[in-house]
């Protein structure tokens, strides 16, 4: 059940009515409705993987209590590592086993040993990377005594399985979400309206921007050998907007949906393509994952406490792990590596936190510099996306090589029966709308909201891509 499907459009109002009218008595009944809805939602993807969700919930719930009840640090550590081991074990088997087996076989082949690795070829359970990290943050927080273990199983189950965030995040924190599910929610009109605006804008990002860009990006990437430099550059730009529209659109719908139930989720995107350097980009892109890696990997590894060498080492580790988190393919690892390399000069010059404030524009040289920095950062991230989108490293390198050596910049008719430049106007309009609303969560609320909502709905109807349906990219992770 996709967020942009008819079935979700039926499912959501039904859950809403049950939640606010039939089971609104107390927080337990409210939570119970959301748990049932969440399990139904997940079973619509593949009911066979419900056991993984239940197992993950039980494991983290009981381990946390055992950890808290432990009288010695040794026992606490044992419970922590046992839970981490089992959680990552599941993730490893389902997501990474085949990759490691094949890579090992390829390595042996390089030394002249021929092997036939046993590959499991398992279907990746949807959302496994998200709810695994979600649960891990909880047990790690318990271990470090940042929070106390949740004893109410219903509340904890909802924390893990809450359907708006179940399949593709945001990766929540117990400190943020659990307190909200532990109290009865009262209907808040303004919050619910914000939620509706955010859902509509999320749909625009997904159906109008991401899916339109996808038809062009696919046409270029799938036939990159016959594309000229202009098409390849535009293909990369289209993919940059595809993945942004797709994932931030999904996040907007998730956050908006959750607001309808009176629950706030963590912000996942903050206009990342308006970043002035790569460090800022990573503070604005997939924020819940970036901050997860910062809090649960970078800082435990020593963070920036152990001098420059330690900082550089830890930065490379989190970028590589972040890349690998996305998928079992060398392309993701190299994508992570490239971003680490982009980050390095800022780190060495201690400039990685120099663009923390809001972007303020005026008619001066400083503003021009800001615009150039934004364009430069966008160009760098777009080049890195080529590795993220390519099916293999060979394809990514071939793509880049051709882009920088072909030197033909004429318009080209693509496989999707469109010219390579045709979508640029839509992309520019989208960038303009985002730019002028960058201080807001979404551009529809505020003054003249009905006009803006009407335009958004008309854009959805007239410019949306429906016949060539595309799943949300991050569902595969």
């Amino acid at each position: 059940m996709f967020f942009n499907s008819l079935s979700f459009a039926i499912f959501l109002p039904i859950v809403f009515l049950f939640y606010w009218f039939i089971f609104a008595k107390n927080k337990t009944t409210q939570n119970a409705v959301l748990i049932v809805a969440s399990y139904y939602f997940y079973s619509c993807w593949d009911w066979r993987f419900l056991f993984l969700l239940v197992f993950s919930t039980l494991l983290d719930y009981f381990s946390a209590i055992m950890m808290e009840n432990s009288t010695t640090d040794k026992k606490r550590k044992l419970w922590l590592w046992l839970t981490i081991g089992i959680n990552l074990g599941f993730l490893g088997v389902f997501k990474y086993y085949d990759f490691f087996a094949q890579s090992f076989a390829d390595l042996l082949q390089g030394f002249g040993f021929h092997t036939n690795p046993v590959l499991l070829k398992l279907i990746l359970p949807v959302g496994i990377s998200f709810y695994t990290f979600h649960g891990l943050s909880y047990v790690i927080d318990i271990y470090y005594k940042r929070i106390t273990a949740e004893r109410n199983f219903i509340d904890y189950s909802l924390f893990v399985s809450y359907f708006p965030l179940l399949v593709a995040g945001p990766i929540e924190r117990a400190t943020h979400l659990l307190p909200q599910v532990k109290v009865k929610r009262h209907f808040d009109l303004e919050k619910a309206k914000e939620g509706v605006y955010q859902i509509i804008w999320g749909l625009v990002k997904k159906v109008v921007i991401a899916d339109s860009c996808a038809t062009y990006a696919n046409a270029v990437f799938d036939h990159y050998e016959s594309m000229n430099s202009l098409s390849l550059a535009l293909g990369a730009v289209y993919f940059a907007f595809q993945i942004y529209g797709d994932f931030s659109g999904y996040s907007d719908i998730a956050l908006g949906t959750s607001k309808l139930f009176g629950i706030d989720l963590l912000k996942n995107f903050n206009y990342p393509y308006f970043s002035r350097d790569i460090a800022e980009f990573w503070r604005r892109w997939h924020i819940s994952l970036s901050s997860w890696f910062r809090d649960y990997l970078y800082i435990p590894l020593g963070g920036s406490q152990g001098g420059m060498w330690m900082k550089v080492r830890n930065t490379f580790i989190i970028f590589l792990v972040s890349g690998f988190w996305h998928g079992a393919n060398w392309t993701y690892i190299v994508w992570g590596l490239i971003n680490a390399i982009y980050f390095l000069p800022l780190l060495l010059q201690n400039k990685n936190r120099s663009n923390m404030g809001e972007i303020v524009m005026g008619w001066d040289i400083g503003s021009l510099k800001t615009i150039l920095n934004i364009l430069g950062t966008f160009a760098l991230s777009t080049l890195a996306w080529i590795f993220f989108r390519a099916k293999s490293l060979t394809e990514a390198i071939g793509y880049l090589q051709r882009m920088f050596t072909d030197f033909h910049f004429e318009s080209q008719y693509l496989n999707n029966e469109r010219y390579n430049f045709e979508l640029l106007l839509l992309v520019f309009v989208f960038v303009g709308v985002e730019w002028f609303n960058r201080s807001k969560v979404e551009p529809l609320s505020g003054k003249a909201s009905w006009i803006k909502v009407t335009l958004a709905i008309m854009a959805l109807l007239a410019l949306g891509v429906y016949s060539d349906y595309k799943e949300f990219i991050y569902f595969q992770f």
Binding site: V196, V453, I457, L461, A462, L463, G464, Y466, S467, D468
Partner: protein
């Protein structure tokens, strides 16, 4: 909560009104367009008289050269459409008859399209703007499309369902009367190049009785139109070439022209001749079926 329901209700009203407005706008634009494809050319243009027209898929569209008929003094037009099946060809013929076209001969390409009673999404999409305004289109699809009610009654749904063919981009082109290559050259679209993808496997296909073909036959019979049914050439590297003879077992009236052009230089791809091949093939058709008509 009441205020919220009112808010959501207003959004629903905006959605519905927007869909109505867009439906009206798009349908109006498509009702005035004649330059984008052959279907709107028939529906929105004046009725015409033809000595001969061609119907079928891309293997008609790329293979019959109307200009050669015209040079012989025959009024001709190629109504073949890339991707279309006999289901769409039958509807094109029905539309022409309903518009009182005067047609003496039809050359119908029947070969690869006879093995299923399927339809072409891409060609079907071109009829959709006229679903509500044209009774022939409505009646035809009313009987064969399972989701006809949704397409007919839900405002703008048909434009969403077929957005890549009749969506915003195509509507804009229709509004500014941008010409499409499909209606130029009397409907003939010449392919260039030679010798690409010169393999084809026909072993998985079996010609069968086809109700759409039967309908075309019936329409021609009822309207006094001479129907000439031909199979068109494929390259020599086809696996299961006896498929063409098998067509004759099902429909003996089909003339097998599969092997009248064989050299690779006449083929753009194995299933489609280039312009030179199309001219050789059309000349042969004219020689066999229209030998006496002089300029």
């Amino acid at each position: 909560m009441k205020v919220f329901f009112l808010f959501v209700g207003k959004i629903m009203v905006v959605l519905l009104l927007s869909a109505f407005a867009l439906d009206l706008g798009y349908s109006y634009v498509y009702s005035k367009s004649t330059t984008r494809n052959k279907i709107e050319n028939i529906l929105n243009g004046e009725p015409k008289e033809f000595d001969v027209i061609m119907l079928g898929s891309s293997r008609a569209n790329n293979h019959f050269v109307p200009q050669l008929f015209i040079e012989k003094g025959l009024k001709a037009y190629n109504y073949g459409m890339s991707g279309s099946r006999l289901q769409e060809s039958a509807l094109v013929l029905q539309l022409m008859l309903s518009k009182k076209y005067d047609i003496k001969n039809i050359i119908l390409e029947v070969d690869l399209n006879i093995n299923t009673e399927g339809y072409s999404d891409g060609t079907r999409a071109r009829f959709m703007p006229y679903l509500k305004s044209n009774e022939t289109v409505a009646n035809y699809y009313g009987e064969i499309i399972p989701e006809f009610q949704s397409l007919y009654y839900l405002p703008f749904y048909r434009y969403i369902q077929y957005d890549s063919q009749i969506g915003f981009r195509e509507m804009v082109f229709a509004a500014i009367h941008k010409s499409s290559a499909s209606v130029l050259n009397e409907g003939f679209y010449a392919l260039q190049g030679e010798g690409l993808n010169m393999q084809y496997d026909l072993t998985k296909y079996t010609p069968k009785k086809n109700k759409d073909y039967e309908l075309i036959k019936k329409l021609c019979n009822n309207n006094g139109i001479n129907l000439i049914v031909v199979s068109t050439p494929m390259c020599e590297h086809v696996k299961g070439i006896n498929y063409f003879e098998a067509i004759k077992n099902v429909y003996p009236e089909v003339h097998n022209y599969e092997n009248v052009v064989t050299e690779d230089k006449y083929f753009s791809t194995c299933g489609h001749m280039n312009e030179a091949g199309a001219r050789v093939f059309t000349a042969k058709i004219i020689e066999d079926f229209f030998p006496t008509k002089a300029k």
